[in-house]
C-alpha cells in the first residue's frame, strides 16, 4: 500500500515457508514446516493445540527469529523487513490482551493510528456489526469482547494479508458468522488470509486451501478437493445380489452388511482412487440405492490425529478377521 519492501513483486505468494525449524531450548516447536499461501487465497492452517500454529505465525510476524529454513512474507523477509511488511498486514492473536486503562474504542484507535488514520464510518459499522461497546475499559471486557476489539482493529483498514490466529475462539456462533462475512469481504477485495484454527467447520466455510500441521511439521496440504481426493468416501448401498465379493476388492475398508426388505444394505469406506472398480462390481450386484459422501474435514483431521487410534483399530480388526473370517463385527466402526 505505502512502501513495498525490496523484492516484493505484485502477485508474489503471500506466504512461502520452506523447511522452517524453531526450537525453544530443548523443545522443537517447528520441525521442517512447509506452508504456502498464494496471493488472494484464504488458507486454513489446522492443527491441534501445541502443534506449532502460533509459533509459525509469530515467525511470520518477525516476533520470533527462525533457527533455519526459508520464510518469505509478501515477498519480503519477515524479520528484517518487519515494519514495512506490517503496513500491509493485520493480525489478530488468539488470546488478546489489551491495555487495562484504555477503553476498547481507544485501543482500536491507537492500533489503527499506528498504521494510518481512523475511518470513523468504518469503525462505527464494525462496532455495530460486532455488537461491541467501545466505552468499556479493557480490563472489564470478556475474552470474546477483547477478541472483538482486535478483530475490529484488524478489519479497519484494507490490507494485503490478514493473519488470524484462532480468531473466533471466544465468539458465539452469531459473531462467528459476522466474522466470516468480513473474511469473505476481504477475500473479494483480493486480500490473502491465513486463518489458523482447530475448529474444522470454520476452516471449511471460507478456506480455499488447507495445511494441516502436527508436532511442528506439515502433514498434509492442498485445496479442500485435493485433500478429499487422498481420502476415502463413505458408501452406503442396498444391493439385491450377494455383496460378499466387495470385501476383497482393493481399496475397500470396513464392510458391514445388514439384511433389509429390499435386499442387503452394505456400508463401507473406499479409497477415492479405487472407486471405479467398486462401481463396476456393484453394478453386477443389482444396485437398489446408492449414496457416497465425501469425508468431512473432521474425518480428515481424525485421520491425522487419530494415527495411534487407527493403528489400534486396525490391529483389533485384524484379530477379529482372524477369529471370524467373513463376518465383520460392527465394533470397529467409527
Amino acid at each position: 500500500m505505502t512502501t513495498t519492501p525490496s523484492g516484493a513483486a505484485a502477485g508474489a505468494p503471500a506466504i512461502e515457508i520452506h523447511d522452517l525449524h524453531k526450537s525453544f531450548g530443548p523443545v522443537k516447536a517447528l520441525d521442517g514446516l512447509e506452508l504456502a499461501v498464494t496471493h488472494g487465497q484464504v488458507a486454513g492452517f489446522l492443527g491441534p493445540n501445541g502443534a506449532g500454529k502460533s509459533t509459525t505465525i509469530r515467525v511470520l510476524l518477525g516476533l520470533l527469529r527462525k533457527d533455519s529454513g526459508n520464510v518469505r512474507l509478501l515477498g519480503g523477509d519477515p524479520w528484517r523487513d518487519a515494519v514495512a511488511l506490517h503496513r500491509r498486514l493485520a493480525y489478530v492473536p488468539g488470546d488478546v490482551s489489551l491495555w487495562p486503562n484504555l477503553s476498547g474504542g481507544e485501543a482500536i484507535d491507537y492500533l489503527t493510528r499506528l498504521r494510518g488514520t481512523v475511518d470513523k464510518r468504518r469503525k462505527a459499522e464494525l462496532l455495530e456489526r460486532f455488537e461491541l461497546d467501545p466505552t468499556k475499559k479493557a480490563r472489564t471486557y470478556s475474552k470474546g469482547n477483547r477478541q472483538k476489539v482486535a478483530l475490529v482493529a484488524a478489519f479497519m483498514a484494507e490490507v494485503d494479508l490478514l493473519v488470524l490466529d484462532e480468531p473466533t475462539s471466544g465468539l458465539d456462533p452469531l459473531m462467528e458468522s459476522v466474522f466470516m462475512d468480513y473474511v469473505r469481504e476481504a477475500k473479494d477485495r483480493g486480500t490473502s488470509v491465513l486463518l489458523s484454527s482447530h475448529i474444522l467447520s470454520e476452516v471449511e466455510k471460507v478456506c480455499d486451501t488447507v495445511t494441516i500441521i502436527r508436532a511442528g511439521r506439515s502433514v498434509e496440504s492442498g485445496t479442500l478437493d485435493q485433500l478429499r481426493h487422498l481420502t476415502r468416501s463413505a458408501v452406503t448401498t442396498v444391493v439385491t445380489g450377494d455383496p460378499a465379493g466387495l470385501a476383497v476388492l482393493p481399496g475397500v475398508h470396513d464392510v458391514q452388511t445388514t439384511t433389509v426388505e429390499e435386499g442387503t444394505r452394505v456400508t463401507f469406506d473406499v479409497d477415492n482412487a479405487d472407486i471405479g472398480g467398486v462401481l463396476t462390481a456393484l453394478s453386477a450386484m443389482g444396485v437398489h440405492s446408492f449414496t457416497a459422501a465425501p469425508p468431512s474435514l473432521e474425518e480428515l483431521f481424525m485421520r491425522h490425529y487419530g494415527d495411534e487410534l487407527a493403528q489400534e483399530e486396525a490391529a483389533a480388526k485384524h484379530a477379529a478377521d482372524a477369529a471370524e473370517p467373513g463376518a465383520r463385527s460392527r465394533a470397529g466402526a467409527r
Partner: protein
C-alpha cells in the same frame, strides 16, 4: 405420551444442609491449598522479618557499647524528624536497647507486615476472583465465604508464627536481661495484630473494589492515612502522643510500651477492630455478586484523544499517573523533611556542647551537623528515585508477558521505536522525580529560613545523583533485553546499594571492590564533597552503554508471550 414420561425419577438432590454444606464448606482444603501455593512466599516473608528484628536488635546492642550513643539517639527521637521516623517516644529519657527497638522499630515492622498482609488478602480474594481462577474453585463444593475465611485464617497464622519467632529472635539477639521475653512478645504480638487489622481492611476493600490492584492501592492509602494520623498525634506531645494518635491502628502496637512499662490492653483495640472489620466484610460479601464490586468502574471514551498517537503517547498515558503520585508523595515527604533541617543542626550542636563524647559521633564542626544529616536524606531520596526507575524500566516486560507488545509490534512499529518510547518516558519520569525530590528538600529548608546550603549546591547534588539513577534504569532495561527473566535483579542491585551505603562503612575488612558495584559509591557525598565531573561523565557513560545494550539486545531476541 404419558407413558413415555414414566421414567424413574432421578434421585432427589441432597439438601445442602443435610451434608453440612454451609457457606464455609471447603475452608480447610482451601487453607491447605493457600499454604501450599504460597509456601515459598510466606517463608521468605517470615525469614526476612525475623532477620530484621534480630539484626536491628543486634545493631542497637553494638551501639549501646559506645557510652552515650543511645542517649544521643534518644535525644534525636525527640525531634520532629525523629518522631516522623520513629514513634511516641516511650523511654527516651532512659533509652535502652529495648526502648529504642520498640520506639523506632514498631512503625517499620507494622509497615512491612501490613504490606505482606494486604498483598496476601487481596491475592487470595479479589485477585483470584478477578482472574476467574476462583470461579473454578467456587464451582466445586466450596461455600461462599470459604475463600475469604481461608485467606484470613492463613493471614492470622503467618502473623502469629512471625510474632512468636521474632520475639524469640529479639530476646535471643539482645539477651534475656536486656530484652525480657514478655516485652519482646508484647512488641511482636502488638505489631502482628496491627498488621492483621490492615489485612482485614484489605478484605473489606476487596469487597468494594472490582479489581485487585484497586483494592491493594486503597488499602495502602489507608495505611498512609494511619501513618499520618499517628505522626500528627505524636508530634504534639512526646512521650506518649495525644488522643489523636490512638485513632491509628499503628499506635495500638506502639502504645504497649514494650521494654518501658509493658501493658497489654491496647492490643484489645486491634482485636476488636479486626472482628468488626471481618463482620463488615462478611455483610458486604453476602450482598454482592460473585466478581462484582460496590465501586462501579467508570466508563471510558469511545474514541481516543487525538494525542494518543504512537508508542510514546501510549507509554506516557501508562506512566503519567504513577509519576504524578510519586512526585506528589515523595515531594511532600522531602519538603517536610527539609523543614526539619534547622532543628537537626541546633539539636546536634546542643548535644555536642553538653557532652563532648557526642563529638565522636557527629564530628567537631557544628556547621557539618546538618549537612551530614542532609547527606543521609539525599541518599534515601535517591534510592526512592532509583526504585521508581527500576519499576518503570520493568514496564516493557509486563507489556511483553501480557501479550500487548505482540499486538503493537504486529503493527508497523519497529522494536527500537517501541523500546525507545518506553525508555524515554521512564527516563523523563526518573529525571523529573529526582529533581522534585532534591528541590523539595531545598524548598522545605528555605521555607523555614535555612538558606544554607543554597539553590546552587542543591542543583549540584541533583546533577551529581541523576546519572546514578539512570544507571539503575539502564541496568534493568539491559536485563529486559538480554535476559528478561532476570529483570528482578534490578531490585537486588538496589538492595545491595542500600546495604553498602548504610552498613558498608561499619563492616571492617570490606574489600574495596565490594563498593565499586554500587552506582552510588561513585557519586560524591552530597554537600560535603565537590561536584566531580569525571564521576558524572563516567556514570553517564555507563548508563549510555546499558541503554545501548538494551536496544541491541531487544532487536535480536524473540518476543516471548506466556
Amino acid at each position: 405420551m404419558t407413558t413415555t414420561l414414566e421414567r424413574p425419577a432421578p434421585p432427589a438432590p441432597a439438601a445442602p444442609a443435610a451434608r453440612g454444606g454451609s457457606t464455609l464448606t471447603g475452608t480447610w482444603s482451601l487453607i491447605r491449598f493457600i499454604l501450599r501455593r504460597d509456601r515459598v512466599r510466606l517463608t521468605v516473608w517470615t525469614v526476612l522479618i525475623v532477620m530484621f528484628y534480630a539484626y536491628f536488635t543486634a545493631a542497637l546492642g553494638l551501639m549501646s557499647d559506645t557510652p552515650g550513643a543511645l542517649e544521643a539517639r534518644g535525644a534525636l527521637m525527640e525531634t520532629p524528624a525523629g518522631i516522623v521516623m520513629g514513634g511516641p517516644g516511650y523511654g527516651i529519657d532512659n533509652y535502652t536497647v529495648g526502648a529504642s527497638m520498640a520506639n523506632e522499630g514498631t512503625v517499620w515492622m507494622v509497615l512491612a507486615l501490613s504490606i505482606m498482609s494486604i498483598l496476601h488478602v487481596v491475592r487470595h480474594t479479589r485477585a483470584e476472583e478477578e482472574s476467574s481462577r476462583s470461579e473454578l474453585v467456587r464451582a466445586a463444593v466450596v461455600g461462599r465465604h470459604a475463600p475469604a475465611v481461608a485467606a484470613v485464617v492463613t493471614l492470622v497464622l503467618v502473623n502469629v508464627v512471625i510474632a512468636l519467632v521474632s520475639a524469640l529472635a529479639m530476646t535471643g539477639a539482645g539477651g534475656i536481661d536486656e530484652l525480657p521475653m514478655a516485652d519482646s512478645l508484647g512488641m511482636t504480638v502488638g505489631v502482628a495484630l496491627s498488621s492483621i487489622v490492615f489485612g482485614a481492611i484489605a478484605l473489606v476493600l476487596s469487597q468494594l473494589s472490582e479489581h485487585g490492584r484497586g483494592a491493594t492501592g486503597l488499602s495502602l492509602a489507608v495505611f498512609g492515612l494511619a501513618f499520618a494520623i499517628q505522626v500528627a498525634g505524636n508530634l504534639r506531645e512526646i512521650p506518649g502522643g495525644t488522643t489523636l494518635s490512638w485513632f491509628s491502628p499503628i499506635a495500638w502496637a506502639q502504645q504497649t510500651r514494650a521494654f518501658v512499662d509493658l501493658r497489654w490492653w491496647p492490643m484489645a483495640l486491634s482485636v476488636v477492630a479486626i472482628l468488626l472489620l471481618l463482620w463488615l466484610a462478611a455483610i458486604l460479601a453476602s450482598r454482592r455478586d460473585f466478581g462484582g464490586g460496590m465501586i462501579a468502574t467508570r466508563k471510558g471514551r469511545a474514541d481516543a484523544k487525538a494525542s494518543l498517537r504512537g508508542p510514546f503517547a501510549l507509554a506516557w498515558t501508562q506512566q503519567r499517573m504513577a509519576l504524578l503520585w510519586s512526585c506528589l508523595g515523595l515531594g511532600l515527604m522531602w519538603f517536610a523533611t527539609g523543614t526539619l533541617i534547622p532543628d537537626i543542626g541546633t539539636m546536634v550542636g546542643d548535644l555536642v556542647s553538653e557532652n563532648p563524647a557526642m563529638a565522636a559521633l557527629f564530628g567537631d564542626d557544628p556547621s557539618t551537623f546538618a549537612t551530614g544529616f542532609l547527606g543521609v536524606i539525599v541518599l534515601y531520596a535517591v534510592l526512592c528515585c532509583a526504585a521508581y526507575a527500576i519499576v518503570m524500566a520493568a514496564r516493557p516486560k509486563a507489556e511483553e508477558t501480557a501479550g500487548r507488545l505482540e499486538i503493537a509490534l504486529a503493527r508497523p512499529v519497529s522494536r527500537g521505536r517501541w523500546l525507545g518510547a518506553q525508555l524515554s518516558v521512564a527516563t523523563l519520569g526518573a529525571v523529573v522525580l529526582t529533581a522534585v525530590s532534591v528541590y523539595a528538600l531545598w524548598f522545605g529548608a528555605v521555607v523555614v529560613g535555612e538558606s544554607e546550603p543554597g539553590f546552587g549546591p542543591y542543583s549540584e547534588v541533583f546533577l551529581a545523583q541523576l546519572p546514578a539513577v539512570l544507571v539503575y534504569l539502564g541496568f534493568v532495561a539491559a536485563l529486559f533485553a538480554w535476559a528478561p527473566r532476570l529483570t528482578g535483579l534490578g531490585w537486588a542491585l538496589l538492595g545491595y546499594t542500600f546495604f553498602i551505603g548504610f552498613f558498608g562503612p561499619l563492616i571492617e575488612d570490606m574489600p574495596d571492590a565490594a563498593h565499586y558495584l554500587s552506582p552510588l559509591y561513585w557519586v560524591p557525598e552530597a554537600f560535603v564533597e565537590d561536584f566531580d565531573g569525571v564521576a558524572f561523565v563516567g556514570l553517564l557513560a555507563v548508563a549510555a552503554v546499558l541503554y545501548a545494550l538494551a536496544f541491541v539486545g531487544f532487536r535480536r531476541r524473540d518476543v516471548v508471550t506466556t
